[in-house]
Symmetry: C2
Subunit: 556 residues, 2 copies
């Protein structure tokens, strides 16, 4: 028996019409480079306008794209940081039926060329700050028919098509084509550490559902009265979907373009009276230092309206959460990945748990429970469920309407990550190793490929690293598997010393770790390096470390 | 181009698994009749258990239904007030693929028999307090194969199948059948004042989407930490969907079964530390009186945690909103109808507006702006959009994924309410006449059939009634159209005098209204009656009044 409900597809035009009709006067503020100083550093300036103006310009862009021959399903790439023109592209591209392909500007040029070719992008909207890459890039990207210089700096580049000019002649109304909710709307490539980047294609449906769930009170709690600054880049997993979510609920949006240092962010958060912000742990470390410096100097920032700093991308150590509480600000863990749009879980506390209690900190350092419509599972090598005891490690599987069911034109990658269980259900294998506790709170232990398999048991490198980074002499710590004649693999600590400190001995370090871990978890050896190699998104590049130390000899 | 997102249908089993896994210890509390006193009045007692127990029993019910031969698409009726067994039915029935048909217990017996036959209900779960109706009802309902006595009183009825016994032998796990998100999940009949009731069939998809949107911060703001008491009946528009929404987010639920008087509700809200509640204006009038009485007596209720009283069903006058503010509680308008699941709009204020300012009250007395995924439009007789000026009246059209596209087995009713506009979009005609202001806030003016058409212009009866009920001598006021030789129709005021008051003259009353309305809106005559006839859900029965006064002679 079918319901009598009407057919109403979930599409991005609904959000655009909503923001234009109900929130036309709410602001969009962008901190953009207004020039450069004598040292060649960008000087910030502010651009402000309203959602009403944004919507009108997004529709001009849609008309310009249509006039340029863009058809339903065509890919239009952006190569840009966070600013208002990029927001216009977030709406102006998908409302035409075309696909917004946000290219990660931090990738290597070869990878950028690879994904533009793999996506077969037809038009490229690129920030003028990146335009110098074009001569090297374009000859390798034959699918690109048109390049438009977008922002964030106001000046146009002589001889190149300027975004503002291009859209200015177009009407500010747009006739939406018929869209199915499962039509592609957006596209992101994963910044994988091995192999080619893999493309994930979001639909109109997944974008709207993800927005609804993200705005829920126990998720990001986004509403009309909020002002949000997504520090997380719009070129990386759609800035966690926040540009859509904020528009849907009518929250004011603030963008920081190229400015992500602590001082710029603290000033912007205070000036624009932000209530919420979102970014990766390294961003918050910089902000914390600046807040502590300003407090010590007697010139504190007024961040009294800032209720929530969402942290994701990688796990924030409990120490960072505690340090923020001490300055009156609250970090809030969310977990996700490109393949999950990204919001999967949130570490919202259950009502019986105090934010600043021991139990509270313990749970806030986890990645949390799934938001509605997302399901997670932790399984062993035989795909059987692992106990929810907070200790047993398993592979994290996830499913839901905004979880990918494969990769764009990549059947091999798709097969490798889609897991069918004996109950007939299909799940995406995240590649993460996790524990789930009695209350259902998930905690990332490691990437599956970074786990240390010692005598058939698993050792989590992440826990050891976080503990070692609490040692007063240690700046950075990576723990990797080194080959071992008896146990197959054993942990090797790769350390960066803090400036002016002496190298602690192995005995010192393991004494520091004892009590926190089972004895057989403790590293067999430590080596010191100048720096630990990192991925383009700032994570430790463990593969490079393992290569570097593949011949390291541990005693049997 | 299709997205790579996985196929994940939105179905009610997701909510049940979620509540069982993540919120198994959150409570469900039911105030139920534990016996009767010497005057024959029910004595309240409390039943408490957890969502974990609820989920286990819902699955037992699902197994019992399946064992009884219930198939996908079959209708299973409930005839019950608000309590935990009814909550089990909300989940236990649709997870089998069957359709939960909540029968409105306040309908006339003939209408009840009509809708059971029209829905072709196969099993009936009925509260023992209504079991006395069965001998008269069942002979007219041949589709009913089995009757189960459900609650809320703990005693079974000798000789009849008892719900608790029936499900007790069943396993507490259940194998879900394959469900499509567009499959029927629930069914409600409108309590129309004319013609037969019309059936609206909700889908799994519409139920989940409605739950997501209802929980949003700018809607009901429902979260884990909340405790909600839905006074609105579970037999009427799914208690505004709250049983599903609250379970999805893990909020504690409190039910009041047969107790809806001010004193019972105030005590229950205080004892269970409720943070949110929802009901119709008449319920809140009773609660307000009890709170005012208790305050005056020096024995106030502790309702300090009660953040929000959602009011819907019919419009709450601004005076009621102000009176609640004076006792520290806040009414919050939501609008919807059976055909919209029901949530359509919420009168959340924009951030620049103070709750207790004049502008705030003015907007809080309106029905508000649509929640995400719902779209509204106000059109004139030629289906052209009416200006959003807060004055121009138009017919309210609505569309969205939880808005009905017709009525069950009722092509005529479906055709009469589905409107296709010149832009090709199809909308549900609500039958309401509204204004929409510059900010998009919608305000219900009248039912279309209750409008007074005076010389081609429209006069809203609701505004005149609300104003007249502010007159110190008037208890109730209905304004209806009376035939007029020159203007076709003119307003006639039908009044109930307050006890001990003298009848004001027409001149007195119109002097009272002057300044609030254009002169041509003022009623041409007034008549006094003992009481105004009402519908089963407490609204004025204007049709009966119009019949009564159809020969009333107005001067030309």
């Amino acid at each position: 028996m079918l319901s009598t409900m009407m057919h109403f597809p979930l599409t991005i035009p609904h959000i655009l019409e909503r923001v234009q009709r109900y929130f036309p006067d709410r602001e969009v503020v962008s901190l953009i480079p207004a020039g450069v100083n004598e040292a060649g550093q960008p000087i910030p300036g502010k651009h402000r306008y309203t959602y009403g103006q944004m919507a009108a310009r997004a529709k001009q862009l849609a008309n310009a794209l249509t006039a340029a021959g863009v058809q339903k399903g065509d890919r239009v790439a952006t190569f840009a940081v966070n600013h208002f023109r990029h927001l216009e592209a977030y709406f102006g591209i998908p409302i035409t039926g075309a696909v917004l392909h946000t290219v990660n500007v931090r990738l290597h040029p070869e990878q950028i060329a690879y994904i533009i070719n793999h996506a077969q992008d037809k038009i490229l909207l690129i920030d003028n700050v990146f335009a110098r890459m074009l001569p090297a890039l374009l000859p390798h990207c034959p699918s690109i028919e048109k390049v438009v210089i977008m922002g964030p700096t106001p000046q146009a580049i002589p001889g190149m098509l300027d975004y503002d000019q291009w859209i200015s002649a177009q009407p500010t109304t747009f006739d939406y084509p018929a869209l199915d909710e499962n039509d592609a709307a957006g596209m992101c490539y994963t910044s994988g550490t091995t192999g080619h980047p893999k493309g994930v294609v979001y639909s109109h449906r997944s974008t709207l559902l993800h927005s609804l769930a993200s705005a829920l009170p126990d998720a990001l709690n986004l509403k009309m009265a909020d002002t949000i600054l997504p520090v997380v880049p719009m070129f990386h997993v759609n800035a966690w979907g926040l540009p859509y979510t904020a528009a849907m609920v009518g929250a004011k949006q603030v963008f920081a373009s190229v400015f992500s240092d602590g001082a710029s962010l603290a000033k912007l958060l205070a000036e624009e009276k932000c209530t919420r912000t979102a970014g990766v742990p390294t961003i918050w470390m910089g902000l914390l230092q600046e807040i502590q410096r300003a407090n010590a100097a007697g010139t504190p920032y007024d961040l009294s309206l800032l209720e929530m700093l969402v942290v994701g991308g990688s796990a924030a150590p409990e120490g960072l959460i505690r340090a923020f509480d001490q300055v009156g600000l609250h970090l809030f863990h969310a977990w996700g990945m490109t393949e999950t749009h990204p919001l999967g879980t949130c570490a919202t506390l259950p009502p019986e748990m105090e934010l600043e209690s021991e139990e509270g900190y313990h749970h806030r350092a986890k990645q949390g429970i799934p938001v509605p419509l997302v399901e997670i599972r932790s399984v062993d090598g035989d795909l059987n469920d692992v106990p929810h005891d907070g200790k047993s490690m398993g592979a994290l599987l996830v499913r839901g309407p905004w979880v990918t069911g494969g990769y764009h034109n990549n059947p091999e990658g798709s097969r490798a990550t889609q897991v069918k269980l004996s109950d007939g259900t299909t799940w995406f294998d995240t590649g993460d190793i996790v524990t789930i506790d009695e209350k259902g709170y998930m905690s990332i232990q490691d990437r599956a490929k970074d786990l240390i398999k010692s005598g058939g048991e698993w050792i989590s490198s992440v826990d050891l690293e976080n503990a070692l980074m609490g040692h007063p002499a240690i700046a950075e710590a990576a723990v990797i598997a080194a080959p071992h004649p008896k146990w197959e693999e054993r942990p090797l600590g790769v350390l960066v010393l803090k400036a002016g400190q002496e190298q602690p001995s192995k005995e010192d370090l393991n004494a520091f770790l004892e009590g926190k871990f089972a004895k057989w978890w403790l590293p067999d050896a430590y080596v010191y390096v100048e720096q630990i190699p990192r991925t383009t998104v700032g994570k430790f590049l463990k593969r490079a470390l393992r290569d570097q130390f593949k011949d390291f000899k541990l005693e049997g």
